[in-house]
């Protein structure tokens, strides 16, 4: 029983980061009809940003988060300008290919800069563990979960309750009409990609700190699983993507703990195939492309 609960807890940690990355990806897709294949690179940029911040600036965890997110945001804005803005609104595979190209260039660029081997990210928290009854969780894991929770709640609040969140939803539905009521759609595009980059970057920082490593290709697997979350959940409700992300993390942890850890990475794709065969529009619906 304790093993089970511990695995569930660990799974929620990772799952919360899947959810955060998936939300950013899903946001850009819903608002701009663009599949940003470079999104995992925002995640990777966050981790390297954390590394750079720790090395040159500060070891304070908040500072590291800010530094990592800033690097991810910068990368995001560049990608938006070069590979998203010029192709927004075109036949959907074109942004898919364009952002794939930028993503690959970024990955290999990072490899050039930092080398092909993972870079050590020094820990910034004492490895203190807390016990919740029979379960234990480290401080870093709590920071990961906490950051993810804050980001998800902030996004939800932004989308539902703020003027620009409303404008973003309007642009997602009818960009022409939104523009006709004074919304600068180019700005919303930058804003949305920027938010997605900040979120993915934050997730990258926490994962980089949790596993004490940053690697040019770390975005790939994480990104793919987050894409799977979006596909399985459908993009109609952001809560759906959050839930699926958490569930995926838990499912992976359980498979890893009870069956075999080598198949962990295949869980996501297995689920994807099964769900898509029965519900091609995702569990909770949408994808109007």
């Amino acid at each position: 029983m304790e093993l089970f609960l511990q695995q569930v807890l660990n799974g929620l940690m990772i799952g919360s980061t899947y959810a955060v990355v998936a939300l950013g990806f899903s946001l850009v897709f819903s608002v701009m009809r663009v599949v940003n294949m470079a999104h995992p690179e925002f995640f990777m940029a966050g981790a390297f940003g954390a590394f750079l911040t720790i090395t040159y600036v500060t070891r304070n965890v908040v500072g590291v988060l800010v530094g990592g997110m800033a690097v991810a945001l910068a990368v995001g804005l560049v990608v938006e300008r070069l590979a998203i803005r010029p192709v927004r609104g075109r036949y959907v595979m074109i942004p898919f290919i364009a952002t794939s190209g930028v993503g690959i260039a970024l990955q290999h660029g990072a490899e050039r800069l930092f080398g092909s081997d993972p870079v050590l990210v020094p820990p910034v928290m004492p490895s203190v563990s807390y016990s919740l009854g029979p379960l234990s969780v480290t401080r870093m894991q709590l920071v990961t979960l906490g950051t993810a929770a804050v980001l998800m709640l902030a996004l939800r609040y932004y989308v539902r309750n703020t003027k620009w969140g409303r404008a973003t939803r309007a642009v997602a539905e009818r960009p022409d009409v939104a523009a006709a009521f004074g919304v600068d759609v180019n700005f919303v595009s930058r804003l949305t990609v920027g938010i997605s980059a900040l979120m993915a970057g934050a997730a990258g920082v926490t994962i980089g700190l949790l596993y004490t490593s940053a690697w040019a290709f770390m975005g790939l697997l994480f990104g793919l699983k987050s894409f799977v979350c979006m596909l399985v959940a459908g993009n109609r409700h952001i809560e759906g993507v959050m839930v699926i992300g958490l569930l995926l993390g838990v499912l992976e942890a359980l498979v890893s703990g009870y069956v075999t850890s080598t198949l962990r990475d295949a869980v996501a794709f297995g689920v994807l195939v099964v769900v898509l065969v029965f519900k091609p529009k995702g569990l909770f619906g949408s994808y109007d492309v």
Binding site: R166, A167, A180, D184
Partner: protein, 237 residues
């Protein structure tokens, strides 16, 4: 009386085809003017070109004396032009209230917003009842009211209305056009595109006749209503 909107020699292409070929029109301050014509006549394209949603191949568009045909849509709106699109085009996943908030996007959310909201609800009381409902769940007539209300929230000087009667029952259309007159009486100039020429001519001061992208006639509504030609082509005999 000053000319609020002046369009001269407008040409809009859709690929190799001319959607609008050399149309000129004016909307003096305080008037309701109508653009009449069948489907495909180029009426909506004219409206969209005024808004900057379609690029003009040639011609000029001036609002309050300023050329606006090179401006991006969101800036054109902020000069004081609001749109009631064809087919309503509400933000269907947003509530009635949120749609109205989007209408006032360029204006801000302060005290003026609430005052304007009250005004709009007095004009369309049914919307107040449905305020928290998602716009997609409203009936056809209510959606049209919301589309107009949304545009009014922008406190425009000029309202561009594209086929307001589309898909509505005749009794509702009648009441709707009375409301449009009330809006005009409140000081807002209106350029309306309509297939329902009969109703449009009843409330418009002046109208333009469009056929396949070209202007084929214009004049004060009384004259047009009396013209045999117009009666035959646009009013069904």
């Amino acid at each position: 009386m000053s000319i609020l909107l002046r369009v001269t020699g407008l040409q809009v292409m859709y690929g190799p085809v001319s959607a609008v070929a050399g149309v000129s029109l004016e909307v003096p301050e305080g008037e309701i003017r109508a653009i009449l014509g069948a489907n495909g006549a180029g009426k909506s394209s004219t409206i969209k070109a005024i808004l900057g949603l379609l690029k003009a191949r040639a011609g000029t568009i001036e609002f309050e004396g300023r050329p606006i045909h090179r401006l991006p849509t969101h800036r054109i709106h902020r000069l004081g032009i609001a749109w009631v699109p064809e087919g309503r085009q509400l933000f269907s996943t947003l509530t009635v209230h949120e749609n109205l908030e989007m209408g006032a996007f360029a204006r801000g959310n302060g005290a003026r917003f609430h005052a304007k909201l009250d005004e709009v609800f007095s004009l369309f009381p049914r919307l107040r009842e449905r305020r928290a409902q998602v716009a997609g769940s409203l009936s056809g007539g209510e959606q049209q009211m919301l589309a107009i209300a949304r545009a009014l929230m922008a406190e425009p000087r000029l309202l561009l209305m594209d086929e307001p009667s589309l898909g509505l029952a005749p009794k509702i259309v009648q009441r709707l056009f009375e409301q449009i007159q009330e809006i005009n009486a409140g000081g807002i100039s209106i350029l309306m595109v309509e297939q329902n020429a009969r109703q449009a001519l009843k409330i418009a001061h002046y109208a333009y006749l469009l056929e396949v992208g070209r202007l084929v006639g214009e004049g004060p509504s009384r004259e047009l209503e009396a013209s045999e030609n117009v009666k035959r082509v646009y009013l069904g005999g």
